[in-house]
Amino acid sequence: MTEIHMPRLSDTMEEGVISTWRKQVGDKINRGDVVADIETDKAVMEMEAYDDGVLEKILIAEGETVPIGVPIGIMGDGSGAAAAAGTSGTSGGDSDGAAGGSATTAASSESGSPETASPGTAASRPAAATDSDAVPRERPKASPLARAVAREKGVDLSTVTGTGPGGRIIRVDIEAAAEATTHTESSQQSAPEPQRTESSESRQQGQDLEEIPLSNIRKVTARRLTESKQQAPHFYLTSAVDVTDLVSFRSDLNERLQASGGPKVSVNDLVVKACATALRANPSVNVSFRDEKLFQHNRVHLGVAVALDSGLVVPVIPDADRKSVSEIAAEGKEKAERARDGKLKPDEMSGSTFSVSNLGMFGIEEFSAVINPPEAAILAVGATREEVQVHDGEFVVRKMMRMTLSADHRAVDGAVGAVFMQQLTSLLQDPIRIIA
């Protein structure tokens, strides 16, 4: 008998969601077969089998979250003996375990039932996953105080990411979660009652308010960006860039590339390349501040933020300074697509030294981004639009784009950031230098 455990599939992963069981109970498995898709904090990963055998039992149903190392299934020789031996208190039948083969995950069906009951009874577990009801649930690691406060505030521990030692959920995590719930709620209420009590709040939750289970990506984003905004003193530098030449340059470039069968290049690809070049010239911005120490990155890896329904992911283009614009364009496109499919590997989403976030396609003129730790700076790029400018005493219409650098003042001084922005602006306004 072999237990299949929740695998560790990312450097920061502490728990994972069974996204899909690719094998069902009774299926024969060969070493290397994909047994299940696991959603980590960063992506959906394929879990391969290390042994030959037959999947005899599924312990954790689709949509459920368990920590690394927790048994999620049992493999045996097909006799069923392994399953019988492997689970205390349950008789492993073959009829069970085909837990929700559909795309509807437990997590998505969980909404609407805020769980204040004991953690051992997941009220929202899909009915199909009958047998997993009997399997002892892994208690979320939480301090007694956190548990007490969670009970009091009606926070479901399984929805909270622990920030204590070893991922322990501590009081501040519960309070943050409770506060987040309150904010969500008040933003959705057109006319909040002046004196809401906790009990009316929880009543409210069942009717007008439903809880959306956090995806792992959102959990991690929430934690890391909160940390960033709390710990890194942000300052902001905004430049207006005349991109008239850049736009026409891009058109020319695309015509040529199209002729040679290459991919199209976006303005953002050019911005990314320009950033990489400017970072190479200004290594003081290509740094990290961590544990009271300043680190210099000797390579330039650019993160490019991609918005997904499940949250924000930032695929990384390594050594962007050494890649051509078309290479960047191709790689960025390919990675963004895989990110949308949840197929991006963890190492393709880590290690960036600087990020670019572009909301121009939504018509946003300008905005400020939150630094993506451990980076020291991020560039927020707005939309391009025509504006009247004064040139040599004449009114002229030019294409303008605004971009804002958010920098961690612990690592980057104002003047250093300003020089970087100056060079970046200069590159974008003289685009031939970008590909030089």
Binding site: S143, L145, A146, A148, G164, P165, I170, R171, D173
Partner: protein, 330 residues
Amino acid sequence: MAVITYRQALHDTLREEMLSDENVFLIGEEIGVFEGSYKITAGLLEEFGEKRVRDTPIAEEGFVGAAVGAAMLGLRPVVELMTINFSLLALDQIVNHAAKIYGMFGGQSNAPMVLRTPGGGGQQLGATHSQNIELYYAFVPGLKVVAPSTPADARALLKASLADNDPVLFLENLALYNTKGEVPDDMPPAEIGKAGVTRTGSDITIIGYSRMATVATQVADQLGEEGISAEVIDLRSLRPLDRETLVESVRKTGCAVIAEDDWLTYGIGAEIAASISDGAFDYLDAPVRRVAAAEVPLPYAKPLERAALPSAESLNAAVRQTLDAVGHRR
């Protein structure tokens, strides 16, 4: 109100008690002619004479037992055991006799006596002269064990111990004898069995006794300068143990660090941690942490001795780690 040393507070209180009660007498090694190994009894032989200040042969079992027997007939002996290490030679008389007289005979007799003795390491006295074995006595029903950390507490607890009708082990500490503090002149006796909250705070509870209680207040004051609010509890009484005060504090702060000069495994801190688990389980946001002596026979060489004993630095570090664990300021 006067600022005096811990030593002076003990001396003055002993003298006062001897003046006010004929039945109080001192007994121990080198307390008369030599005026005490640590000079607590200086001048008392001259003032009160040999009957009241009785030098003994080196015979801990004999003279401690004699004090118990005298106490059974109504005298109030104050025994000085030169250091707590030597109390082991009188263990039978303290544990099997003094502690049992009242209960074993159905309350017909009792042994109202005070066993004064200093513990503590840090003076390069080596393995046999540096121990903190008050736990041995705090373990025993029938005994009371008090551990003052300041001159004022020394006075108030010594008065209380002498007024008590049970055998009280009165734990002093070599490192505290020269410490100074304010001692009010008209100080009432302390209440045996009550801990003191010596600093109030809301972020973390630090619990100590004897020397480590003073270290705990130092650390709390350091942390206070950084805006960290630490509550400090000085146990004062090891038996009975004031669990209520401990638990009340931890229920407020959600985390605790225990500072003890004794060894960790089975030490005083183990009982405190268990009590916190009993009374404040649902309030704990991090495991209870203990800062205790390294588990070795204490070496002579200074760097080794220093490494083995708890200090303000080690307590400070443990407190910070615990604060990190509860996400303090995050």
